[in-house]
């Protein structure tokens, strides 16, 4: 048996060490009763991709897949939702602690290891709370386990369940604390062997002792003192160092590789070339880096890159979708008393993780162990198996933290890189991408063009709203079967998911998952209004085109771009009829939770009711204005209203946000400080994206490849003052929260620029050049 030290995250290991559960896998399993299924894949050919991927994962319907009680009574939780910096591990520790009635210190959480934890797909898309904090999975397994423990205690003590109370792994009789039994005595080291019971009663928010409180991040003592093991810190015996050599320009192919060009590099182990994938392996990291820089590769010319991406997109064959269509907008737009039209643009942006991505692979014969910062260990297992030509059940993917990713950064690609290089040398290989490898080849957030058309009636209310957008796609997450969705798979010759242009069909069900539908329309599909607003004449048409760059989800994918356009446009319409931006929004909203966050932000900001622009501002020098925006994220997955105060220097075009006010509603709040942290970070990250972040390129290659050419606001900038109000809704379902403030701040800033100057900037990022151009265009 292998020592399990490397199987667990560092904090889990530390916690396990304290339990004295032993340090090998067999002892651990014996002591915890953890369920590890050896799965025979006799029928693998007949399983679809998802089933194949799930082969070997603990079944989600079993309590033992989620909860185990150690012999000492300690509670162990298993989850498929991992820590990316968003605080979800601490939140899940709270959840398990609450349901099992133990202090947080007595919970160990094991997350995202294909041999240990249930397959929960990816940790992304503001889905973790929805998946694990409502009526299934971890929450429901916890409730089932607690009820089972109480039942067992009832039998053992001969006292009815309603006379028992549980705390800190001890169940005792309410009136006689001397009558008691511990979790360890009841089931320590054994399996529950129970199905997750849908009828088991979750602890009600009113009874919460641990949920709903600002429990401090369980991982921070290690992070702050440099003890946390990130994937960058994984070290295996005999491990070598790999680097990759990416093409110099987009679309270049390998013509030939001159291995003699690196023969002098000390400790060079191998040059690996597979189709257009090129990598090197050396004994030491410096020599791997030197070899990668020095290796002479003869590349073909690239495929060239379009220049005006926004104009270009509108001319491409597109895959179209109608989200809502009342089929009368042509007439209602033509018949309106007043019409307002505008076109907005959004740049390609990148995840730009602080740490260039890294992974460690150990491929030995027909088995592989991958230490990966991927958001989806199960996807990674199946797609890596394809890359390696191995059976998925012979590949184990163990999540190790990377640098914050905000979506699909280089994590999945670098895991393939490490796997390929390790397989080529038969030893463990660690691959560290360079800053340029990361930035030139990641799956960027989508560029967008968004057109808005509205008609107003004689009372200045909007009676028709048409929205049409164009955005590009190439690749995505690798999912179970598409390694070609990211650069490494593409270089290895795997296809990306097929893109097929095609016309739209009439919508048959309402979804606002991408926030393509503005909050102000009725959202009628069939005979039901399901939108957040009141405008009955509505049409939303989207066009997706093939992208010259890899694309993928970047925090609030498509939602941020659509919301920038919607929340800028409603402001423009309000200004055109000299209405207050908050009041005008409220006139067209009917969804209470959007109304509440909008009002909440306005109240916090001491919003003064008046139209924009602000009266009395001079046309030169520095002026101040205010802006507002709101969103029902994905239609129903978190709600945020935001107001900002911004300064615009009309001589330089520079914008500085001075104050931010946020109202946020994510249902019942698990951890108020964690929610606040997400809201704050999202707002500032969104501000950096709105003001300066933009992927740039020339005729053949990306030119934003480091922190001099891609502009992220540093720790040293003038940070705006920020106030947040958290709206707790204990009776609602838990929703996502981490992508809401980032979604609204761009429009709020653009609206504040307009309020300050009367100039409308319709393109993100709101660079000084664009602000100056808008200022010059003022009437």
């Amino acid at each position: 048996m292998k020592n399990i030290r490397n199987l667990f995250t560092h904090e889990a290991q530390t916690a396990l060490d304290k339990t004295g559960l032993g340090s090998n896998r067999r002892d651990f399993l014996k002591a915890t009763g953890a369920l590890i299924v050896g799965f025979s894949l006799a029928d693998s050919e007949t399983l679809n991709a998802q089933e194949r991927a799930a082969a070997g994962s603990p079944p989600a319907g079993q309590v033992d897949s989620w909860i185990a009680i150690a012999a000492d009574g300690r509670v162990i939780g298993y989850t498929g939702k991992e820590e990316l910096g968003q605080g979800i591990v601490t939140a899940q520790v709270q959840l398990v602690a609450e349901e099992l009635a133990v202090p947080v210190e007595h919970v160990t959480l094991i997350y995202c290891d294909t041999s240990m934890t249930p397959d929960q797909g990816v940790t992304s898309g503001s889905q973790s709370h929805i998946a694990n904090f409502n009526h299934e999975n971890l929450a429901q397994a916890g409730a089932t386990a607690r009820e089972a423990l109480l039942q067992m205690a009832s039998q053992k003590l001969g006292v009815p369940v309603d006379q028992l109370t549980a705390w800190d792994s001890v169940i005792s009789v309410k009136n006689d604390a001397s009558k008691k039994v511990t979790y360890g005595e009841l089931i320590g080291g054994k399996k529950f062997a129970l199905a997750v019971n849908k009828a088991a009663k979750r602890k009600a928010p009113g009874e919460w002792k641990i949920m709903g409180t600002p429990v401090k991040r369980v991982d921070f003592p290690e992070i702050m003192t440099g003890r946390m093991e990130y994937v960058h810190n994984v070290r295996l015996p005999g491990m070598l160092h790999g680097r990759v050599v990416r093409p110099p320009v987009v679309g270049a192919k390998v013509m030939s590789v001159d291995e003699s060009s690196v023969k002098d590099i000390p400790g060079l182990v191998k040059v690996v070339v597979k189709k257009d994938f090129v990598g090197v392996v050396a004994e030491k990291q410096m020599y791997a880096a030197q070899a990668a820089a020095k290796l002479k590769v003869n590349w073909s010319a690239g495929t060239g890159l379009p220049q005006d991406i926004h104009d270009w997109m509108k001319k491409q064959p597109s895959r179209d979708a109608l989200m809502v269509n009342s089929k009368d907008t042509e007439q209602t737009l033509a018949g309106g008393a007043t019409k307002v039209n505008a076109t907005y643009k959004y740049a390609y942006q990148m995840h730009g993780s602080l740490g260039a991505s890294c992974a460690v692979a150990d491929v030995q014969g027909d088995h592989a162990t991958l230490y990966s910062p991927t958001q989806g260990v199960w996807h990674q297992r199946s797609s890596s198996a394809m890359v390696l030509g191995l059976k998925p059940e012979n590949v184990r993917v163990i999540y190790r933290r990377g640098s914050g990713c905000y979506g699909i950064n280089g994590s999945d690609a670098v895991t393939f890189d490490a796997a390929v290089l390790s397989q080529a040398v038969g030893k463990p290989v660690r691959v560290q991408l360079t800053r340029k490898d990361e930035m030139a080849w990641e799956n960027y957030g989508f560029a967008f063009v968004l057109e808005q058309r509205a008609a107003l009636d004689a009372k200045n209310n909007i009676v028709a709203w048409e929205h049409e957008s164009w955005s590009p796609t190439l690749g995505a997450r690798p999912l179970y079967t598409f390694p070609g969705n990211v650069v490494t798979g593409g270089l290895l010759g795997f296809p990306s998911q097929e893109f097929k242009p095609g016309p739209a069909t009439e919508p048959t069900r309402y979804t606002n998952n991408l926030n393509s539908i503005p909050s102000y329309v009725a959202g009628r599909v069939g005979d039901k209004d399901q939108g957040a607003g009141t405008i009955k004449s509505e049409k939303v048409l989207t066009h997706t085109v093939a992208s010259p760059f890899w694309t993928g989800p970047l925090r609030s994918p498509s939602r941020i771009q659509n919301t920038f356009a919607h929340e800028s446009f409603i402001d423009e319409v309000a200004a055109s009829v000299k209405a207050d931006p908050v009041e005008y929004r409220l006139r067209h909203l009917k969804e209470e939770r959007v109304i509440d966050v909008l009002k909440g932000a306005a109240k916090l900001a001491n919003w003064e009711t008046r139209p924009s622009p602000k009266p009395g501002n001079k046309r030169t020098g520095v002026v101040t204005g205010r802006g507002v925006a709101c969103v029902a994220y994905e239609g129903d997955n978190g709600y945020t209203g935001i107001a900002v105060e911004a300064e615009v220097n009309q001589d330089t075009g520079k914008v500085a946000v001075r104050k931010i006010w946020v109202a946020i509603d994510a249902g019942p709040i698990t951890n108020p400080d964690g929610l606040r942290n997400q809201a704050e970070g999202g707002a500032l990250q969104g501000m950096s994206r709105a003001l300066g972040e933009e992927v740039t390129w020339d005729n053949e290659k990306v030119t934003s490849v480091d922190w001099r050419t891609f502009h992220s606001l540093p720790l040293g900038f003038d940070i705006p003052k920020m106030e947040c109000v958290l709206i707790n809704r204990p009776d609602e379902e838990a929703t996502g929260a981490g992508e809401t403030t980032i979604t609204v701040i761009g429009a709020a800033i653009a609206n504040a620029i307009y309020d300050a100057t009367g100039a409308r900037v319709r393109e993100i990022p709101l660079t000084p050049e664009r602000v100056k151009a808008a200022l010059s265009a003022r009437a």
Binding site: G226, N233, N677, L715
Partner: protein, 157 residues
């Protein structure tokens, strides 16, 4: 070639090319987890260590230039059980998200405030002008640093 470097108060003999970036020596040879590879270009701060009282970027510093000097990494300040006051301030203020940047933020602040105990908020801001945090935990980090700066002014470090 064997070189001897002093890290967190301990001497280590390492057999590396003298031109090896200090970062690789700290993370590969000594298995330290504090210093991190961010950009390899000296642009983000993630690899920071304190050398003879000055915060430096280890990704662009050849190991040969720090022989005989006192090198401190994030591990050298404090431990999870007994964090340094600055680390404690970061824990108290919950001042991080993914934590990848913490090394650069904490060590740059520490070295700066050691030399400039009376620094103003603006001075500190200036000192951090070359440090990135992509999760944008800026507000909390400045709050934590402000708290520590108060303690530092009082001399209780």
């Amino acid at each position: 070639m064997a070189l001897t470097i002093k890290v967190n108060g301990q001497s280590h003999s390492v057999d590396v090319d003298p031109s090896t970036p200090l970062l690789y020596v700290l993370s590969d040879e000594l298995a330290l987890r504090g210093p991190k590879f961010g950009c390899g270009l000296g642009q983000c701060g993630a690899c920071t260590a304190i050398v003879n009282g000055t915060a430096i970027r280890t990704c662009v510093t050849p190991v040969s230039t720090v022989v005989g000097k006192d090198i401190t990494t994030l591990e050298g300040l404090g431990s999870p059980e007994k964090p340094h006051a600055l680390q404690q301030a970061f824990i108290d203020e919950q001042a991080a998200q993914c934590g990848f940047c913490v090394n650069g933020v904490v060590l740059t602040t520490k070295a700066f405030l050691d030399k400039n105990p009376k620094a103003s908020e603006k001075d500190i801001q200036q000192a951090l002008s070359g440090i990135l945090c992509r999760c944008f935990s800026h507000t909390r980090m400045h709050r934590a640093i402000g708290k520590y700066a108060q303690i530092a002014k009082g001399g209780a470090r």
